[in-house]
């Protein structure tokens, strides 16, 4: 497969992912957090748009800047600016608003509802992640030397021995780069929880995509100065998406240090102060500050405020194996069990095999012959691992394990479930691809065709699960768990974001079919409801109200919110919902009306 063909396939896959997400996620309700992000996006983008007006100086001044960026300052502004600008480009106008109500404003090229337009940048980043994974997976399948057995460990590290050249370097029959690329891309995106989060105007999949991009750039930066310079801004962009990226340089430093340590030779002076890390240290902070105008007035103070917010993040509730957790100590097993419960097991096994093989290979304390011969063999400050193995297996393992290990710490809040460690999944995907390539290369005789068949077989459950779960993928579980029904039996969380709104509420069959007004919204955030209203998807006459004054009510299934359901029973005078939204029989949301039976 030529480089050009790879790029074409990667681009096609990325675009297909973005288009599918853009169209498919119009069925996905607005999650609680999106409500405030929509508001912030409009404020941020309005400010950005004013920069191109004659009001440039006033707009850039601190008062106007702070007014625009004070809202939702617990997260960096980049994705919200992008979302807001996307709406200004592509949003369809909302219907005529009534007094006191807002309507979506028309963009320059109105193609989609305002919320869908704001989700587009995140969906593009998901497409980018798919494209990058395809390229990275395909590159892993490049023909390898026949024998990669390590040379004997030298007893004396000085002088440095040249790694012995294997006797037979003719390449083994390589695994198909196309299939390897598809393995990596599909492993990641065809997971119901990844697919669900990938289409939202939130930061979890975008930061996963950015983390992947930074790691792939770092991988190149170890041997190429151009990529080393790009690493700083790339990290800055990643941090400007979400704070998870703050851990990236730490993990990269750990990887780099281990590479030097395991190379068993004294680092050159340039290797002590490598350009990739200098670029990250200098350019990343500048990029972060440049992309977040809220910081401009008081960078140190506001960064500290931001760090404090996340250090002391509130403990919300989550259900795990039938128990509601809302304060530490939280179960250490949580991220591991939830990963198993939401990622199909065969795909997970392949990834674990890849991590094991990678670590077995890369933790050997000996210099390993480098696969590429394009770089000079002498490490320099701008190409600090030139001539040395980049130890990809170790890199994938660090980035796959860290997010789960971090969440496993009993004092780390776990309210968001799997979304907190989505950054690990691209590296599971690459590890799985490495394993599949190793299997494809080693398979002989009648097993020769087995890798292709097995790859198809183990990717299907993820695709199946994703399609079945859509648009309620947050409540979807893996086949071996038993899907949503099995998870409900086990007492696993069904949702936490109030997005699974019964379709009849958003698209009533006729004007009189809307629930009686006023309605109690329960976990549907008022800002999310306002977004529906701006787009004309919420009946004007259906006003929100507290439960004791409501004539109809929503109830989202969350264990700790059972009290609210009883309040609804009392207020509505009935225990029977008029409509129950289910995923494979498992109730997600109930709609109670005033005229139902008691």
């Amino acid at each position: 497969m030529t480089r050009r063909a790879r790029l074409l396939v990667a681009t096609a896959l990325g675009l297909a992912t973005t288009v599918l997400l853009s169209l498919g996620h119009r069925q996905v309700g607005y999650v609680r957090d999106e409500g405030i992000y929509f508001v912030a996006s409009r404020a941020h983008a309005a400010w950005a748009a004013r920069l191109f007006s004659s009001d440039f100086t006033t707009t850039l001044a601190a008062p106007a800047r702070d007014r625009a960026f004070a809202v939702n300052r617990e997260h960096p502004a980049l994705m919200k600016i992008a979302g807001g600008l996307s709406a200004r480009l592509f949003a369809e106008p909302g219907p005529e608003a009534r007094a006191g109500q807002e309507r979506a404003e028309a963009g320059l090229l109105p193609l989609m509802p305002e919320g869908a337009a704001m989700r587009l940048p995140a969906q593009l980043l998901a497409g980018l992640a798919v494209a990058l994974l395809f390229l990275a997976g395909a590159s892993l399948a490049a023909p390898a030397p026949r024998d990669r057995k390590p040379p004997p460990v030298p007893k004396d590290t000085s002088p440095v021995p040249e790694p012995p050249v294997p006797k037979d370097t003719s390449p083994v029959p390589g695994a198909s780069p196309l299939l390897a690329g598809l393995c990596a891309a599909s492993w990641f995106i065809a997971l119901p929880h990844v697919w669900f989060h990938a289409g939202l105007h939130t930061f979890d999949v975008p930061v996963a995509a950015a983390t992947l991009a930074v790691v792939l750039i770092y991988r190149r930066a170890l041997t190429d100065r151009r990529w080393a310079l790009a690493l700083g801004p790339a990290l800055g962009v990643a941090i400007s998406i979400k704070h998870n990226a703050l851990f990236i340089p730490v993990l990269l430093a750990l990887h780099y240090g281990l590479c030097l340590l395991l190379a068993r030779r004294r680092p050159t002076p340039g290797q002590w102060l490598p350009l990739p890390f200098l670029a990250m240290a200098v350019l990343a902070p500048l990029t972060v500050v440049a992309l977040w105008p809220w910081l401009w007035s008081d960078p140190i103070g506001r960064i500290l405020e931001y760090v404090e917010f996340h250090r002391f993040h509130a403990y919300y509730n989550t259900e795990f194996l039938g128990i509601n957790y809302n304060r530490p100590p939280l179960p250490i097993s949580y991220p591991f069990v939830m990963t198993w419960a939401t990622v199909p097991s065969a795909a997970l096994l392949l990834a674990l095999l890849g991590l094991a093989l990678g670590l077995r290979r890369d933790l050997r304390p000996s210099p390993v012959p480098k696969a590429s011969h394009t770089s000079p063999n002498t490490p320099t400050w701008s190409a600090p691992l030139a001539g040395q193995d980049r130890r990809d297996g170790l890199l994938w393992a660090l980035f796959a394990a860290f997010p789960l290990v971090l969440i496993a710490i009993p004092t780390i809040p776990i309210f968001g479930g799997t979304k907190h460690w989505l950054t690990a999944y691209p590296f599971f995907a690459l590890a799985a691809t490495s394993a599949w390539i190793a299997l494809a290369r080693a398979a002989r005789g009648r097993w020769r065709r087995a890798p292709v068949l097995v790859l198809a077989a183990l990717l299907v459950p993820g695709v199946w699960s994703t399609i079945d779960g859509h648009p309620y993928g947050l409540s979807q579980y893996a086949p071996l768990v038993g899907g949503p029904r099995g998870a409900a039996d086990l007492g696993l969380m069904r949702g936490f974001w109030g997005h699974a709104v019964p379709p009849s509420l958003l698209a009533p069959a006729h004007p009189g079919a809307a629930p009686q007004s006023p309605i109690y919204l329960h976990d549907l955030h008022e800002l999310a409801r306002l977004q529906y209203q701006r787009e004309g998807r919420w009946a004007h006459e259906t006003a929100p109200a507290p439960v004791n004054r409501a004539r109809s009510a929503l109830f989202f299934e969350e264990r700790h919110m059972r009290t609210h359901e009883l309040q609804i029973w009392s207020a509505e005078g009935t225990v029977a919902p008029t409509e129950v939204l289910t995923l494979d029989d498992v109730p997600l949301t109930s709609l109670y009306g005033a005229s139902g039976p008691r």
Binding site: P344, L349, L357, W464, R485, R562
Partner: protein, 304 residues
């Protein structure tokens, strides 16, 4: 990796993937259509109305209540336990845990009772209906929730007045309500009582059997989060204390019981909620207040 190792790994992966395909085919489709609910409704309608129906698959609750009137009464939805129920029925999803025949919630409600006898089951398609008999359940002679007029309530400052199903006193307010205790609905006397005060609930000339059984819990989730103070219960029969309990919200729907001599007796229950308020970062506040949820029944049980 050797070819042999690769073959073994591919075989394992293929087997796991094959199992996943089978599981996915079972898991990723709805099993309950309108026909299933209609069949279940018909089967439940044929049951004696005095015999409650419980869910063996608790998470089906909203759908079951939507489609099945038999699952809407408080006796099915918010029963205190399984005592006093010689016969009852359990509806569950056949493909769910324990084939929908039983649930951990029913095990909790069993208390000290032995497992019930399964008399039979009906295959209603995806749903199954199981019929149970509990010879040791005993019979309820008096339920304090059933006859509010028979209750006399007073706090430290005097008697409470019953009006529109609510008792009002100087230091307390009591209603019959359904509250959430341990994430489940429970029918009970909902008691809002001032800190460190005592509410006395009397039922003169009450028909007693061999045992008085009751439960105390605290609603709701948020209030329990902010207050773990225990409550004290004292049970008196004919002015003689026969039981004292100190119960906290960590015990959930805490059961208490005391043996009694069959006959007509005066029964009094004294509840002291030490602290009912809320601890916040600013300290203790009496409001919002945690509500106690109390129920009591006299039963006649055969010796076991």
């Amino acid at each position: 990796m050797t070819p042999r190792q690769a073959s073994a790994a591919l075989l394992v992966l293929a087997l796991v993937a094959a199992v996943e395909w089978v599981c996915a085919a079972r898991a990723y489709r709805a099993q309950l259509g309108p026909d299933a609910w209609t069949r279940a409704a018909e089967a439940l309608a044929a049951l004696p109305q005095t015999e409650p129906v419980f869910l063996g698959t608790p998470w089906l609750g909203p759908s079951a209540r939507q489609h099945l009137p038999a699952l809407r009464p408080w006796s099915s939805l918010a029963a205190p336990d399984l005592y006093g129920l010689p016969r009852f029925h359990v509806l569950g999803l056949a493909s769910a845990s324990q084939s929908g025949a039983w649930s951990s919630e029913l095990t909790t409600d069993l208390g000290e009772l032995p497992p019930p006898n399964l008399l039979g089951s009906e295959d209603l398609g995806s749903l199954h209906l199981y019929h149970y008999e509990q010879p040791a359940s005993g019979a309820v002679l008096t339920d304090w929730l059933a006859e509010p007029d028979a209750l006399q309530l007073r706090d430290d400052l005097g008697p409470c007045r019953l009006s529109q199903k609510t008792w009002s006193c100087k230091q307390a307010r009591i209603t019959r309500d359904t509250l959430e205790v341990s994430y489940r609905p429970r029918r009970c006397l909902a008691i809002d009582l001032a800190d460190n005060r005592t509410l006395e609930l009397s039922r003169p000339r009450t028909q007693l059997g061999t045992v008085l059984r009751g439960h105390l819990g605290f609603a709701d989730f948020n209030a329990r989060l902010r207050n773990d103070a225990p409550a004290q219960l004292e049970l008196l029969i004919d002015d003689i204390t026969i039981g004292r309990w100190t119960l906290s919200d960590s015990q959930g729907w805490a059961a208490f019981a005391a043996p009694t001599t069959p006959g007509i007796h005066d029964v009094r229950l004294r509840l002291t909620t030490l602290l009912g308020g809320t601890w916040t970062e600013q300290g203790y506040s009496a409001q919002p207040h945690r509500t106690a949820c109390l129920e009591l029944r006299a039963l006649s049980e055969a010796p076991r």
